[in-house]
């Protein structure tokens, strides 16, 4: 009899049944099809309307019942999984801890990546904000800032920006509180906050009238200043402060957002700043101090804005050939603010996220192995369940449910981890980006943790199922009792171990490179002796100090007073000091040499200018190379003198003696070089030594801003005394910060230090997880071969032979993993290039160290189960089978 082709209706019905859970289908599917066939035949006899009604009811009912049936299977699986997890507490704890660490590392780093790199800027339509810069390419100046005339030219002549605002930072002394406050002040255009789209938390922002000449001064407070200094006083609006000899009224408080370009305590308009509003400053096109920001007009692109601004620049160049000389190489650039805020943080964060992902991969491989190991012990149960009709799909589902529950628990652990590390990470990210304060655990971070958990589930569950498929059928055929480990499972597990080793190796090399780089950084000679020196930054209330002589007399009295303190070896007053946190900014001015025929573009830009008293070099331990340093006789009435550093001397006067030459930084004031001193790493050990010029502070007394003291003993013990001496001399002096130079030096490498610690932590985690993984796999291997080992020992194998066999088992995998790891590390570490200082990504010493350390740890992990195997008593081993 020929088999008739199955009618479409039946095939359709069978297809419909597929939306029901596998269990339900395998239980009732055939019966349902049969029943349906009879029902359909009966209805067809009653006419097509009845048939149609039946189809409708059938489809609707199955669609309706499918979700309920799925939930009921899930609930059943969950109950079962929880019961299994309760029964295997140690296993569950291990798996959840390992996955939790992996997910935690990722979630923590992701919370930073999310807030810093992914979230939109907290400004309204932040993508349209641009940073505009002028540069002098030929003079080597990246950012020469703007003068008032330049700001006005760009504001009036551009066609692509809907607004253009200026900013510069000042430090003023605020009176009116209990103690004088040195406040970081942002001096801005009236529409600055409107352009950024910042809405005040209290009060209002500036109005155009408040930037007109003669307008009464008003202030906006930053959120932090309002919170800490004014204790969040809700009635702050209208508060009056004395500043720069004028009364300033508070009109608003900013919300807690990252302040750009700098963190400030207060903001004022340009007309309230004494320097910015002075007629001389406004008139001079070369007096540059402001930064400029713009917002793109709707529809305008960054590219159009750049072309537009270049046209304005060209016009300015033509109109003012004296200002924009050919030697300057003048130009203008515009960059998107978003990129500017985060480009420093991007490489380090992405490298750390990559490292964290590796930790998670290792954790997954490890837990998959744990699952496999446990399945070996559950073999009997699984075989029985298969025999009783549980399909392989059903088993897969059960395994996935188990892994999912575990992964969700681990995600909880991971989120806890991320929450605890938030403060540390915020501090860390603060070294790279003002967006650090936005770091928080939000919905995206939660989603990420759950996504990590789900990915983990899929990886672990699928790996386990890979084994289940191949093995259960075989297990059924064998008696399931002494079933030798299936070749496939053994291969999967071996591959997992090798993968863990490979990933750990890559992380170890990465961490090793960071450590090596940090060591190199700390070996860098800063050019001065930071031990037992401290710096006190101070600001005199300038409204009382109008004359140079007043500053000079203050400096003299201060030094006299400090030097008389017991324990003070030497003291100096200067404008600032090496590795001063306030120093981080780009300063560069073109150098001019009297009688030098070379074009200006061949002379290097001076990137550090400091004014100091004669004892500055002695106090900091900066060596004198030739000539002399400053003398007490270099005063206001004697010819201006300068000391330069060795780098500048070599660059400009490679064969000649620079002493006696005359130089200028502005073309008006000329200094005679009297000596050369050693190079100092002014901006931290990872930065190049700048070309540096020192001037005598007695000839420029208004620059006095730092007191430097070298002590015989612990400098920390002296700071209080010195602080008091300063306030005794003038109680209206604002003390900005007190820090030892060792601290300043440590801070200059604090971000690589934290990055190294994080990376190192990840690598150690990876190493421990991998080593534990190898150890536990071998332990299982030994347990499964008790009988075999027993027989071999009964036949005369010595314990040492057994030890070797077991260790060899593990170490072969380790070596395979190591080989893959070396390849992986060579390929991946070059991504770390930007994070490394004086260390190549293929640094042989680091690779060698990791190549010794990893197998060493693995050997130790192998030794523990191997020793246990070697101690097996053959009689006991044989009897217990």
């Amino acid at each position: 009899m020929a088999i008739a082709r199955e009618p479409f209706a039946d095939r359709f019905y069978r297809g419909l049944l597929r939306i029901l859970p596998f269990d339900f289908r395998s239980e009732f599917g055939d019966d349902m099809e049969e029943t349906f066939r009879e029902q359909r035949a009966a209805r067809a006899r009653r006419g097509s309307a009845a048939l149609l009604r039946m189809w409708w009811a059938t489809i609707a009912d199955i669609v309706r019942m499918a979700p309920r049936e799925h939930v009921s299977v899930l609930a059943q699986d969950t109950r079962y999984a929880l019961r299994m997890m309760r029964q295997n507490r140690a296993y569950t704890l291990a798996a959840v801890t390992i996955l939790g660490l992996g997910i935690g590392a990722n979630t923590s780093i992701f919370s930073v990546v999310n807030s810093v790199l992914l979230k939109p800027l907290p400004y309204t339509d932040g993508d349209g904000l641009m940073v505009i810069r002028q540069h002098g390419a030929k003079a080597g100046v990246d950012d020469m800032r703007f003068s008032v005339a330049e700001v006005n030219d760009y504001r009036r002549q551009n066609r692509t920006l809907s607004g253009l605002v200026e900013y510069h930072g000042m430090t003023f002394t605020l009176l009116g509180g209990q103690e004088p406050h040195r406040v970081r002040t942002g001096v801005v255009s009236a529409n600055f906050f409107d352009l950024f789209g910042v809405k005040p938390l209290l009060g209002r922002t500036f109005q155009p009238d408040e930037e007109k000449p003669g307008a009464p001064p008003v202030l906006i407070l930053s959120y932090e200043f309002w919170k800490t200094v004014e204790r969040g006083d809700p009635k702050i609006i209208g508060r009056k402060y004395q500043m720069n000899d004028r009364v300033h009224v508070v009109i608003g408080v900013l919300p807690p957002i990252p302040q750009y370009p700098n963190e400030n305590d207060v903001y004022m308009t340009t007309t309230s700043c004494p320097s910015r509003s002075s007629a001389g400053f406004i008139a001079n096109r070369k007096s540059r101090m402001m930064s400029v920001f713009g917002r793109l007009k709707p529809g305008a692109t960054a590219e159009q804005a750049r072309a537009d601004l270049a046209v304005v620049a060209k016009r300015m160049e033509q109109d003012n050939p004296d200002t924009y000389t050919s030697a300057l190489g003048y130009g203008v650039s515009a960059a998107e603010l978003r990129g500017e805020l985060t480009h420093n943080a991007r490489p380090v964060l992405l490298v750390l996220l990559g490292a964290a992902a590796f930790v998670l991969l290792i954790a997954c491989a490890n837990v998959a192995n744990l699952i496999l190991a446990r399945m070996a012990r559950r073999e009997k149960e699984l075989i029985i369940r298969t025999a009783m009709g549980a399909g392989s799909g059903r088993l897969l589902r059960q395994l996935l449910t188990e892994s999912l529950i575990m992964a969700l628990l681990a995600a909880g652990v991971g989120l806890g981890f991320a929450y605890l590390s938030l403060e540390l990470l915020t501090k860390f990210a603060g070294e790279f980006t003002p967006r650090a304060r936005e770091i928080a655990i939000d919905g995206w971070v939660l989603l990420f943790a759950v996504a990590c958990a789900s990915a983990t589930t899929v990886v672990c569950g699928s790996l386990a199922a890979l084994y289940a498929r191949g093995n259960v059928a075989r297990g059924l055929k064998e008696n399931g009792n002494q079933a030798a480990p299936a070749a496939r499972r053994s291969l999967v597990r071996s591959a997992l171990i090798a993968a863990q080793v490979a990933f750990s190796y890559v992380l170890l090399v990465g961490a090793g490179l960071m450590v090596h780089s940090l060591i190199e950084l700390q070996k860098v000679d800063p050019g001065f002796v930071p031990q037992r020196v401290f710096a006190v930054g101070f600001d005199l209330n300038w409204s009382k100090y109008r004359e140079d002589s007043q500053y000079q007399s203050f400096s003299n009295r201060l030094l006299e007073k400090v030097r008389s303190q017991p324990g003070v070896l030497s003291a100096a007053v200067s404008s600032n000091y090496p590795m001063d946190p306030d120093l981080r900014g780009s300063f560069a001015v073109g150098l001019q040499v009297e009688g030098d025929a070379r074009p200006a573009s061949e002379l290097p830009p001076v990137k550090s200018l400091r004014f100091a008293t004669p004892d500055y070099f002695k106090t900091l331990g900066i060596p004198q190379v030739t000539g002399r340093t400053f003398l007490d006789s270099d005063g206001a009435d004697s010819p201006p003198v300068a000391v330069i550093n060795r780098a500048l001397a070599n660059r400009v006067w490679s064969r000649e003696d620079p002493v006696g030459k005359r130089i200028s930084l502005d073309g008006r004031n000329w200094f005679k070089i009297v000596g050369v001193v050693g190079d100092v790493k002014e901006f931290g050990p990872s930065h190049d030594t700048p070309y540096q010029v020192y001037g005598a502070i007695a000839q420029n007394p208004m620059y006095a801003g730092t007191l430097l003291v070298r002590t015989a003993g612990d400098p920390a013990a002296m700071t209080g005394l010195v602080r008091r001496a300063l306030l005794d001399l003038d109680p209206e002096t604002a003390i900005a910060h007190v820090e030892t130079l060792e601290q300043a030096r440590a801070d200059s490498v604090s971000s690589p230090k934290i990055a190294t610690r994080l990376f190192g932590l990840f690598a150690v985690l990876a190493l421990v997880i991998a080593a534990v993984g190898i150890g536990s796999m071998l332990a299982l291997w030994v347990r499964q071969r008790m009988r075999e080992i027993g027989i071999r020992m009964a036949l005369g194998a010595r314990p040492a032979d057994i030890l070797h066999t077991v260790v060899r088992q593990g170490m072969v995998l380790v070596l395979v993993g190591l080989a893959c790891g070396i390849g992986g590390a060579l390929a991946l570490t070059r991504l770390m290039q930007t994070l490394l200082f004086a260390v190549k990504p293929t640094d042989a010493a680091t690779f060698a160290a990791a190549t010794v350390l990893l197998p060493g740890a693995a050997l130790l992990a192998c030794y523990v189960p191997a020793r246990r195997a070697a101690r097996i008593d053959p009689q006991v081993a044989l009897r217990c089978e």
């Binding site: 009732f28 019966d31 349902m32 049969e34 039946m54 199955i62």
Partner: protein, 116 residues
């Protein structure tokens, strides 16, 4: 494992009633329910097997291992019967309904005896 998932629904009671006078396979149950309710209750296969699964899980019905005479049987058919606890449950349900009907009559919501 018998676990109760709430009260009997009308459809469930109908299925149990269909099985009260002997074991039946799926389509036979559908047919009887439809005939006895004069076409008012028409179960779809999905609903029927949803109910079967639940009744099986609660131990109210059971699958019959012993099949009817071979000439009446189809290989794929599965037969179900009411278990003792199923029968008790059905009786209890019928009695509960009987009491309800009596009360409805007492309130004159229904006419007195009307032969079925």
């Amino acid at each position: 494992m018998a676990e109760s998932q709430g009260p009997l629904t009308a459809a469930m009671f109908n299925v149990m009633l269909a099985l009260a006078d002997g074991e039946k396979h799926g389509y036979a149950i559908l047919k009887e329910v439809e005939e006895h309710t004069a076409g008012e209750v028409q179960l779809s296969t999905g609903t029927l097997y949803g109910i079967v699964k639940r009744l099986l899980a609660e131990g109210l019905i059971a699958e019959v291992r012993r099949r009817p005479a071979i000439e009446n049987d189809d290989q794929r058919r599965r037969y179900y019967r009411l278990t003792d606890s199923g029968r008790q449950m059905a009786v209890a349900e019928a009695e509960r309904m009987e009491k309800l009907i009596a009360r409805a009559r007492g309130k004159r919501l229904l006419k007195a005896f009307k032969p079925v």
